[in-house]
């Protein structure tokens, strides 16, 4: 009985020893290695002690010595192989045979990453590994991207966590969403949402070169304040933007030039309309590449009407009324986003944002041809633009534009094919303020949108990726023929050979 127990202990110890040695060679950072090693030692030692009579008599016979020699050879061989594999893993040679090299970064990215020096830059992605198909697909994309970047840059430390599983890491990083990528080196940090290769490499370069971009909030015309804390101010928004790695500063466009590091300019509900000089300055700045977010309250003139019209955007008449919201909160004048658009800045958003008293956003009549207008957020079909907000009860009348009503729209200017700035128009400013930001949908929308706008402005030019996909064209008949050959032809041939051989053998 003791012998049996001893041998069981010995087997356990041997297994632990094998795993320890393998882990030491391949993954020395594994936690619990010491415990494993101790288990191995205790197991093997315990077995040797308890089973000593059998062991010693067996060892003394020739068989025992030879067995020990063989075991030693296997152990040595295993150790050498483990070391070899570990060395190759560290060097990580790889050959991307896929069409267009979809597993690798472009040569341009590789060249850029090679120029980075200094301490390594940490790139950490938080993507759920399980869940709905969209999340899984995002994770797959990120895994491929992370793998490619890790292989391309020795100056990068790329890690991936599942925020559901690795709660500790997610909490430490302050990550509550899915699809967040943190880039940091020392104090310099940036936050991206589900980036593609271009956005990621641009952000990495920014962190490496310690460049900051800034979001400037227009001030001096009675806009929503940045410094005081109230339900109407933008302090929460500003905090969220800083978390992305953006600097947030006030700017009086009537008096000061827009600085070079301005990526985005927010004009949030000025009480006094902006002067034409200011509008022209903004226009010039947009021309050189910049993003403008205009958040106007119903009934107030921002002074940017002509600029917006030239970009194909305008505020429509009336107030947006959303019966869906009325059935929930009793107040119909806070329309809810029922659908987000396909534009990259809002794609993938799920939580509905709520606008607190908004004008509809419409396409300006006579919009020039060199603009592309994208609807970013709209209501359901049940909403309408109420021309008589005072009426009781609120009903959709003949003059009221029917839903879906656009709440947020984006215009990209590209005269003669050149990119000349982006303008986003919202018919409400409260959704950005502290009151509005309490709603998680508003927070998500604001952060994603502004983050995307800021990123867009200094993207490194990468050559477009040519991804030849290959093609296959077979009709029904082709498929049948191939199927027959595959299922009957080839196996039948084998069975025929088998039969032939069998018949021949019987005669032998």
């Amino acid at each position: 009985m003791t012998a049996l127990i001893a041998r069981l202990i010995g087997v356990l110890g041997a297994l632990a020893a094998v795993v320890t040695l393998g882990a030491l060679a391949a993954a020395p950072e594994l936690p619990g290695l010491r415990t494993l090693g101790l288990t191995a030692a205790v197991g093997l030692g315990g077995w040797l002690y308890l089973d000593w009579p059998a062991v010693s008599s067996w060892v003394r016979s020739r068989g025992g010595l030879e067995a020990a020699r063989a075991a030693l050879l296997v152990l040595l061989g295993g150790a050498i192989l483990s070391v070899a594999v570990a060395l190759v893993s560290r060097a990580d040679p790889r050959w991307d045979l896929s069409p267009g090299g979809r597993h690798s970064v472009t040569s341009q990215t590789a060249a850029i990453l090679a120029t980075l020096d200094g301490p390594p830059i940490e790139v950490t992605g938080f993507f759920m590994a399980a869940g709905d198909p969209v999340a899984v697909r995002h994770r797959a994309h990120w895994d491929a991207l992370a793998d490619a970047f890790a292989a391309a840059g020795p100056s990068l430390v790329v890690r991936t966590f599942d925020p559901d599983v690795s709660r500790r890491e997610a909490d430490q990083a302050g990550v509550t969403d899915n699809g967040v990528v943190l880039i940091s080196r020392g104090a310099r940090k940036e936050r991206l949402y589900a980036p593609d290769e271009r956005t990621l490499v641009t952000a990495i370069v920014r962190v490496a070169r310690e460049r900051t971009r800034a979001v400037y909030v227009s001030a001096g015309h009675g806009e929503r304040p940045l410094d005081t804390v109230s339900g109407l101010s933008l302090t929460d928004l500003s905090a969220e933007l800083r978390a992305l790695g953006l600097a947030v500063r006030p700017l009086d466009v009537s008096r000061t030039e827009i600085p070079d590091d301005a990526a985005v300019l927010i004009v949030a509900d000025p009480s006094l309309p902006l002067a034409q000089a200011a509008a022209e300055q903004i226009d010039d700045w947009l021309d050189g590449g910049g993003a403008l977010l205009v958040a106007a309250e119903p009934g107030r003139d921002t002074g940017l009407g002509p600029l917006l019209a030239a970009s194909g955007l305008a505020l429509g008449p009336g107030l947006v009324v959303d019966p869906l919201v009325r059935s929930v909160t009793g107040d119909a004048s806070t329309p809810m986003v029922a659908r987000y658009g396909l534009h990259a800045s809002v794609r993938g958003l799920r939580t509905p944002a709520v606008f607190l008293g908004a004008s509809p956003v419409i396409e300006a009549p006579h919009a020039p041809t060199e603009v592309t207008v994208h609807r970013l957020a709209e209501t359901s079909e049940l909403a309408w633009a109420e021309s008589n907000p005072g009426e009781q009860p609120l009903t959709q009348g003949a003059g009221d534009a029917a839903g879906p009503i656009t709440l947020l729209a984006l215009s990209e200017r590209h005269p003669s094919g050149r990119s000349a700035g982006t303008i986003v128009l919202a018919g409400d400013a409260d959704w950005l303020a502290n009151d509005g930001m309490r709603n998680p949908g508003n927070r998500d929308l604001a952060v994603r949108l502004l983050g995307a706008l800021a990123n867009e402005q200094d993207l490194i030019e990468l050559p477009p990726r040519d991804l030849p996909q290959g093609s296959l064209a077979m009709d029904w008949l082709d498929q049948v023929v191939v199927g027959l050959v595959a299922l009957l032809g080839i196996p039948g041939l084998c069975l025929g050979v088998a039969a032939g051989l069998w018949i021949r053998r019987r005669g032998m």
Binding site: G22, A27, A67, R94, S98, P99, H103, A486, L487, W502
Partner: protein, 251 residues
Amino acid sequence: MIWHVARRELLSRLRSPFAWVVAGTWLALQGLMFTLILGVYLRASRDGGEWEEESLPLLSGLIDPLYSSQSLLLLLFMPLLTMNLLAGEQRGGTLPLLLSSPLSTLSVVLGKWLALLAYVSGLLFVGGALAPITMIWFGEPPLMPMLGAGLGLLLLAGALGALGLLASSLSGSQLVAAVVTWTTSLGLWMLAVLETGDGPAAALARHGSLLVHVRSFGQGLILGADVAWLLAFAALGLLIAWQRLESWRWR
């Protein structure tokens, strides 16, 4: 020396009616998988569907699934091919012929392994040539990833072959050999489910699972680390089989 052992092994397989029946079954299953995957792919690319890319990529839509199904078939059939390699010698009493000859036991192990690989290569690449031929005839497939997938299958066959050889050396029972090979290879394959997460189990899965080290070949990516791992796996299996065979001398 190795050549003589390999030659006998290969000829014996090619002349055995039973082996051809097994091959026919394997190829039939291979053909079934191909027909099904092809059908799904062609239907999906006709319908368009909600795919993000404009046209359905051949690599992830056809070549990768085919590669996965081929690997699973390998997992299933290799134990059948290897179970008798050494167990048969033990049961049939032909070990004295090998042990009393000037032949080294290492040559025996290597010869049998190489013969097995040659046979499996024939099954995979000649018997399984229908899939690449179809793709080339009826379309324009990316050729390099197909070669990569072939390499992956060959390396997997080498690893599983060594494992099977090792299992076959454990006793004279084919059943024991087959069961040991099946459970070990399936276990190492399924280990991959532990992969997500950051604990030691996940690290073990990432380093030790067969699936993890085999799947990139089907995606057009050849990782040196995977190649090294699979070769090391085979080498270790052969080493242990060799020592096991030697042990019959002094046990």
